[in-house]
Amino acid sequence: MSKSTEEYLEALYTLTKDGETASTTAISKRLKVAPASVTEMLGKLSNEGYVNYQPYQGVTLTPEGFKMAEKMARKHRLLERFLHDMLGIGKTMVHDEACAMEHALSDETARALCQTLKHPDKCPDDGNLIPPCDLQFSSCEECRKWRGGSLEQVDRRKENIVSISTLKEREEGKIAFVRGDNKVLRRLLDMGLTPGTKIRISRIAPLKGPVEIAVRGSKLALGEEIACNVFVEKTAN
């Protein structure tokens, strides 16, 4: 995959994160390229099956495109955290630096970064959520302990999972993964958020406040910093 394909997918990931369609203008502004080249590139991406694109109607990612895009966004945001937290590079500079480095980052290094940074959840400059990896580990603890050779041996998650902090009221999902240390994970398991459990978002507090979920016949409030690490497989209402 070419570097520019990756850049486009990543831009689309950010622009369509709330389920909206992205406009050619928005893409051209974000990537600082002429609208004509955007149109051309979108046609190419559409042929390759990464985006749904109808001229003048905006563009969305296909499930396959979303997967690729999410991976790039993850690498980008992990790098930003690394540059900011470990190397002390200023918030205004990390984005461009990470853009340049992300294409060369292997999955192995991304995993090592994630562990070294203690599975971070937000990127430093604009507070965007760092997507989870697609490795089929049941917890970050298991990933940390894993001493296998190459990541080729690890199963990859097929379905797309989303953080419950990105869901809207009344949306539903099944618990898929909880990122972070064992303590929070176990606490949530004890409260009934075991893998596969159905949950429904019943309330979202304003101003990025906690999320209230209906689970197992009761309601549970999860602070935003916990909710953003709880990932579900979205299900239709």
């Binding site: 089929q136 049941s138 917890s139 603890e141 298991e142 064992n182 303590k183 929070v184 994970l185 176990r186 606490r187 949530l188 398991l189 004890d190 409260m191 009934g192 075991t194 893998p195 596969g196 459990t197 309330r203 507090a205 304003p206 101003l207 990025k208 406040g209 906690p210 209230e212 197992r216 016949g217 009761s218 309601k219 549970l220 409030a221 999860l222 602070g223 935003e224 910093e225 916990i226």
Partner: protein, 678 residues
């Protein structure tokens, strides 16, 4: 309506018979000593918010002692139940969801059950949230203690359209199940009878343990067999130990490891095997299986007839709405404070009137030494009586009611992200609001926070919350001689200061913040007994900690002053009070008085100035500034001693110094700003 009719537990002695005579549970009459001389202990266990305290109050009436678990800052409530010749000790265990070791409450509970081995445990479960409650019940069954289940809050389940077959639950779990509506006293009688039955003949009611999947169950049994054959002599049952070992419980691993390294390593191998098989951590496997069992049992015994939006649901929608939610929070808190000061002022005036009949309550700083000491001590008593009873009691009463109703849970939900910026989470709202009454019980209530760091941060914030005594200063100096708007402005500025200093403290105290995980329980009509008990327990800490300090401290300070020992204080402090803050010289001594009782700042001003018209001696900016500095400058001695008790000397000293420094710095800035404004 007796459901538990299993004959074999029906009485070895003829003291008790179902449906037999019963002394009122709240009787104060000392019953005959235990029928056969044995002492019975019954513990109440269960999730939070299932009505455990209501049942505890029903069982023990006024025979309660509330203290701490030895060496732990976890509240321990104990009481005596007199019933048909028995004096049973009832222990109310903390409300918990599991037996992990993430909170002191969970640790205390499991250690208690294993080591003290109560004769019976009443597991209170909320009928409207069966699944999660049964998850805990299943863990209790593994603890191998005689169990009685109280299926409480049947009324809430009913309003949600849920009907429950209690007999079926009894059959499945093999332990007595008593349906109840504790808030209305329903089912309590039968619960007592059954619990006493089980307590005296517990061996027949161990219940049916729930089996895990073969992969897990076979390993638990093997491990349990190993533990038994090695005779570790630990307090915990071997099956429970095995489960905890597989769950990788660090405390239990340590405990078992001291006796047998081999068992721990066997358990680790087994856990690894389970993990490889299930592709999940062993803890997660066990939790999942337990929950699926709980879910299955719940589905078996309950029927959801109609799904309708209850009144509670609608109230929930309103109180967590992005606009109405904040309005509710504001109205609730402002209403609480308004109510406190309206009612408080009325009673306070009335009481001080009554007391001044005996003796002048205004500080007397001249005359014979005996008179000065006596006046100080008496002033301390009066201050206690006229502050605690009229202001703080109505405050606690209403606060406990809104707490029990579930409204505060919603306020905590709405304000979680604000709290988070101070390194706290939503639950900290309760201690902070409590602080407006008196800082002392508020500091104790910081225990609701999960970690020591959060407790400390919350306690630090509380010391800046204007308690009733400080409110008296603000009212007495600013509202009376400047205007009410400046008084309200001080409150508003204080909120900003709390927030700003909270953020600074967050940087100073190392560690990571934990997020909010809070059950949003249903709204309910507050229980009178719970509200009463809560009010009393908070008021009690005032009476035992604040009163003595008020009395002794006031006498001492006034005496020392009259002896002339404190005279030099004014001059010693003058660089701060006069030069830096621009206040009159006498404020030095006022602030020393305020260390004992904050409201002394106002009260002592009368004899020092020789008039009640403070505006003759102090300018308006000076009045505002004095109130401002008094609001912040140092916790009173009672608060400092509460800090010492909860956190030790060092943190208490650090917090006090931080208060002092911020009062001086902010006071100096305020003095200059006020000079510009006036």
């Amino acid at each position: 309506m007796s459901l538990w009719k299993r004959p074999q537990i029906k009485l070895g002695s003829n003291n008790l018979a179902i449906g037999g005579s019963c002394h009122s549970t709240t009787t104060t009459k000392k019953g005959k000593k235990s029928g056969n001389g044995q002492s019975i202990t019954i513990a109440l266990a269960g999730n939070a918010n299932v009505g455990k305290s209501v049942i505890f109050n029903h069982l023990t009436g006024s025979h309660q002692t509330i203290g701490n678990w030895p060496g732990k800052t976890v509240e321990r409530a104990e009481g005596i139940l007199h019933f048909d010749g028995y004096d049973a000790t009832i222990i109310d265990l903390p409300g918990i969801y599991s037996f992990s070791t993430f909170s002191l409450e969970e640790l205390v509970t499991r250690e208690y059950i294993a080591q003290e081995k109560p004769n019976a445990i009443i597991n209170v479960i909320g009928a409207s949230v069966l699944e999660r409650n049964l998850y805990f019940t299943l863990q209790l069954l593994d603890m191998d203690t005689p169990l009685v289940i109280c299926l409480n809050q049947m009324d809430i389940a009913k309003t949600k359209g849920i009907t429950i077959d209690a007999k079926k639950l009894e059959a499945i779990l093999g332990v007595p199940v008593i349906p109840a509506v504790a808030s209305r006293g329903k089912g309590i009688q039968e619960l007592i009878e059954t619990a006493l039955d089980v307590a005296r003949d517990g061996h027949n009611t161990r219940g049916n343990r729930v089996k895990f999947s073969d992969a897990v169950e076979s390993r638990i049994e093997k491990l349990a067999g190993e533990i038994e054959s090695q005779q570790l002599n630990l307090d915990y049952p071997s099956r429970w130990l095995s489960i905890k070992l597989l769950e990788d419980d660090s405390e239990i691993k340590k405990l078992v490891g001291l006796k047998s390294e081999s068992i721990v390593s066997t358990s680790e191998t087994m856990a690894k095997e389970i993990e490889d098989g299930c592709k999940e951590s062993c803890f997660s496997v066990i939790a999942s299986e337990r929950y699926s069992k709980a879910s299955q049992i719940a589905a078996d015994i309950q029927r959801q007839e109609t799904v309708k939006a209850t009144f509670s649901d609608r109230l929930d929608w309103f109180t967590t709405h992005k606009v109405f939610g904040y309005i509710t929070a504001f109205v609730v808190i402002a209403g609480l404070l308004l109510w406190t000061f309206t009612v408080g002022n009325y009673f306070s005036n009335w009481l001080s009137h009554l007391l001044s009949f005996f003796e002048s309550t205004n500080p007397n700083l001249t005359g014979s030494m005996k008179a000065v000491f006596w006046n100080g001590a008496f002033g301390g008593i009066v201050a206690g009586v006229t502050l605690v009873i009229p202001f703080v009691v109505p405050f606690y009463l209403v606060l406990a009611a809104i707490e029990d109703s579930g409204i505060l849970t919603r306020v905590a939900f709405m304000f979680d992200n604000f709290m988070h910026r101070m390194g706290l989470h939503g639950k900290a709202i309760i201690p902070l609001i409590l602080g407006y009454g008196c800082n002392v019980p508020a500091i104790y209530s910081c225990r609701v926070m999960g970690t020591r760091r959060e407790k400390l941060l919350a306690a630090f914030a509380i010391t800046f919350v204007p308690c009733t005594a400080r409110t008296i200063i603000i009212l007495g100096l600013v509202a009376a001689f400047v205007n009410i708007w400046w008084a309200l402005a001080l409150y508003a500025i204080d909120l900003v200061i709390i927030f700003a200093l909270g953020r600074i403290a967050l940087r100073v105290v190392p560690g990571k913040s934990t997020g909010l995980i809070m059950e949003m329980h249903q709204f309910r009509v507050p229980s009178l007994s719970v509200v009463g008990k809560q009010t009393w327990s908070r008021t009690k800490s005032l009476i035992f900690m604040v009163f003595p300090i008020y009395v002794i401290g006031s006498a001492a300070v006034q005496g020392l002053y009259a002896l002339g020992w404190l005279g030099p204080v004014n001059h010693a402090l003058s660089p701060i009070t006069v030069t830096w803050l621009g206040l009159p010289l006498i404020t030095g001594i006022l602030l020393v008085f305020g260390l004992i009782r904050k409201e002394m700042v106002v009260l002592a001003l009368v004899p020092l100035l020789g008039t009640q018209h403070f505006n003759l001696f102090l300018t308006q900016p000076q009045l505002i500034l004095l109130a401002f500095v008094s609001m912040l400058y140092i916790p009173c001695i009672a608060t400092i001693s509460a800090l010492v008790k909860e956190f030790g000397w060092k943190p208490a000293a650090a917090i006090s110094v931080a208060n002092l420094v911020s009062a001086i710095v902010l006071g100096g800035i305020a003095a200059r700003l006020l000079a510009l404004a006036y």
